[in-house]
Structures are given as structure tokens and as C-alpha cells.
């Protein structure tokens, strides 16, 4: 992973992971710790934290400075209960999927392989949060010109 576009895509994915870690942390705070959603939120939190750490290593290995996490993020809407937490989780996975698809396009080798797997995971995790299945998760239809 040495191209400028691959580093840029990895940085975008890393930024999305920072948001995901923050958002899943917020979600965990509004859920019953013993409930099934809380278990899934903790699992998702760990997954995204591991990816964040991995992407930081990837960016550093390309002699770039990883994009830092912000102190906090403005979420789309207040997360006040389980329904809000689940809706936010859907959004997070959808946005991460878009950055993974971009990373697949920009990278090669092991990093692309990782991104391919992450895209599948985001799609199925989003589904588990109630997202509708789509023909091309993470991709937007291109305008015809």
C-alpha cells in the first residue's frame, strides 16, 4: 500500500472508524447492559476499534500521519434509547461500508483483501441492525452522463 490514493482511502476509512468507535460507545451507554443489543454493540465496538488500530498502523507504514480522533462527534440525532442506538448503528455501518468500498478500489494486495472482508462485514452487520439489503452495499449509483 504505497500509492497516494490508497493512503487517502485508508485515512478516510480510519476517520470513519474513529466515528464508529465513538458512536458505538454512545450507543452502549443508553442500552441495558444485559440486553441482546448491548452485547451486539460491544462486539461491534471491539471490531471497529481493532480496525481503527490496524488502519493507523497501515497509514504509518506508508510514512503518513494517521488522521486523529476528534474529542467528540456531532451525531445525526440524539441517541436516547434502544431504537435510537439501533438507527445510529445502521448509519455507522452504512458510512463505514462506503469507505471500505473506496479502499477496495484504491488499494491492492493485503489491504484490499482486508477491505473486501470489512465491506461484507459492514453489510451483514447493517442488516442485523435492520438495514434493507441492497445490490451494491457501500456503492452509490453513478449518474449517467
Amino acid at each position: 500500500m504505497t500509492t497516494e490514493s490508497a493512503v487517502e482511502a485508508a485515512q478516510a476509512a480510519l476517520a470513519a472508524e474513529h466515528v464508529a468507535v465513538y458512536a458505538y460507545g454512545v450507543a452502549g451507554g443508553v442500552l441495558d447492559p444485559s440486553g441482546p443489543e448491548a452485547v451486539r454493540v460491544r462486539s461491534a465496538y471491539e471490531v471497529h476499534r481493532a480496525r481503527r488500530d490496524g488502519l493507523e498502523t497501515t497509514v504509518r507504514s506508508a510514512s503518513a500521519e494517521p488522521v486523529p480522533a476528534e474529542a467528540g462527534y456531532a451525531l445525526d440525532r440524539p441517541v436516547r434509547g434502544p431504537a435510537g442506538a439501533v438507527a445510529m448503528a445502521r448509519t455507522i455501518e452504512d458510512r463505514c461500508a462506503a469507505t471500505y468500498a473506496a479502499l477496495v478500489a484504491a488499494s491492492t494486495g493485503a489491504l484490499r483483501n482486508d477491505a473486501v472482508g470489512w465491506l461484507g462485514d459492514a453489510a451483514t452487520r447493517g442488516l442485523s441492525w435492520g438495514a434493507a439489503p441492497t445490490a451494491f452495499p457501500g456503492l452509490a449509483p453513478a449518474p449517467l452522463r
Binding site: V104, A106, T124, S128, P137, G138, L139, A142
Partner: protein
């Protein structure tokens, strides 16, 4: 970074070659609209053909399952629609992929769901491998996304199987 995009016309452009792409006025899109026509990377046309053929086979087997088990249509309609979208996306314009004829489908609903799940898993694996090997980043993203969709199908079919095991459907 703008979202990665996919369009049938882009893939058609890849399949038909840069000249045809220029003639139809479409362009590669991974980093936003570009005036440059896509170029064909060796092996990518075969990867797109294979993805289209796999999707066409899935269209046929899902249609057969829906005919034999009409009660599964609420689930299978969406699967079939998405497979048709994949066929359309990956089919080279110059050589349309023929849909296979009727596919054999088990009488048992559970066996049918297991068959569908196995076919989806197999196609997802093939799409993931093709994504890893693709020369074009745009095609790689489209194949990886297709694989992600098929992984969603596997999840949906597993849930349907669990429902049949517990008598919920």
C-alpha cells in the same frame, strides 16, 4: 472523499473497451466523475463475465425455488431482483449473458433454503476472490460490493432456515 459509484454503463464501458466507452460517453467513477474513458485491464473482462454468469445462475435457481415454494416469495423476490441487478451490471454489452433454463429445486422447503444458501455462499466467495485479483479498482469495488450483497443473502436465508426450524414460518 466522494462515494465510490457503480453504474452499468461504466462496466459496459470496461467490457466493450475504451473506444466503446468513449462512444457512449460514460466514464470511470471511483473518485468522482472523470472525462477519461476506462481502460480494460487484462483479465477483468473475464471477471465481469464470470460474475454475470454466476448472477444469472442465481436468478434461475431463485426463480425455480419461488415457483416450487410460493410461500417463500416475500424473501425470494428481493433476492432475485438484486441478482438481476448484478447480471445487468456485469454483463458486457457486446455479449449478453443468457439466463439458464429451469433449475432443479428440492421439494422440501428447508432443503431448498439450504441449496440457495450454498449457492449464494459459493458465488460470494467467487466474487471476493475476483475482487482481490481485479486489475481495475472500480471493478474490484463492484465485485466486493456484490459479494457483500450475497453475504447479506446468506444471512437472510440462514434466518429463514432458523425460522423453519422453530416453526415460525
Amino acid at each position: 472523499m466522494p462515494p465510490t459509484t457503480v453504474s452499468r454503463r461504466w462496466l459496459l464501458g470496461v467490457a466493450a473497451g475504451a473506444g466503446a466507452a468513449a462512444a457512449t460517453g460514460c466514464a470511470g467513477t471511483s473518485a468522482g466523475p472523470s472525462e477519461q474513458a476506462p481502460t480494460v485491464v487484462p483479465g477483468d473482462l473475464d471477471r465481469a463475465r464470470r460474475a454475470a454468469a454466476d448472477a444469472a445462475e442465481l436468478v434461475a435457481v431463485v426463480a425455480g425455488a419461488a415457483r416450487r415454494h410460493p410461500e417463500l416469495q416475500p424473501l425470494l423476490t428481493g433476492l432475485g431482483d438484486r441478482h438481476r441487478t448484478h447480471v445487468e451490471a456485469f454483463t458486457p454489452e457486446v455479449e449478453p449473458v443468457a439466463l439458464p433454463g429451469r433449475m432443479p429445486v428440492p421439494r422440501s422447503r428447508r432443503a431448498t433454503l439450504r441449496l440457495l444458501r450454498a449457492r449464494e455462499q459459493r458465488a460470494a466467495g467467487a466474487a471476493r476472490r475476483a475482487a482481490a485479483d481485479a486489475g481495475s479498482g472500480e471493478l474490484a469495488a463492484a465485485l466486493a460490493s456484490c459479494a457483500a450483497c450475497l453475504a447479506q443473502h446468506v444471512r437472510l436465508l440462514s434466518a429463514a432456515l432458523a425460522d423453519t426450524a422453530t416453526g415460525r414460518s
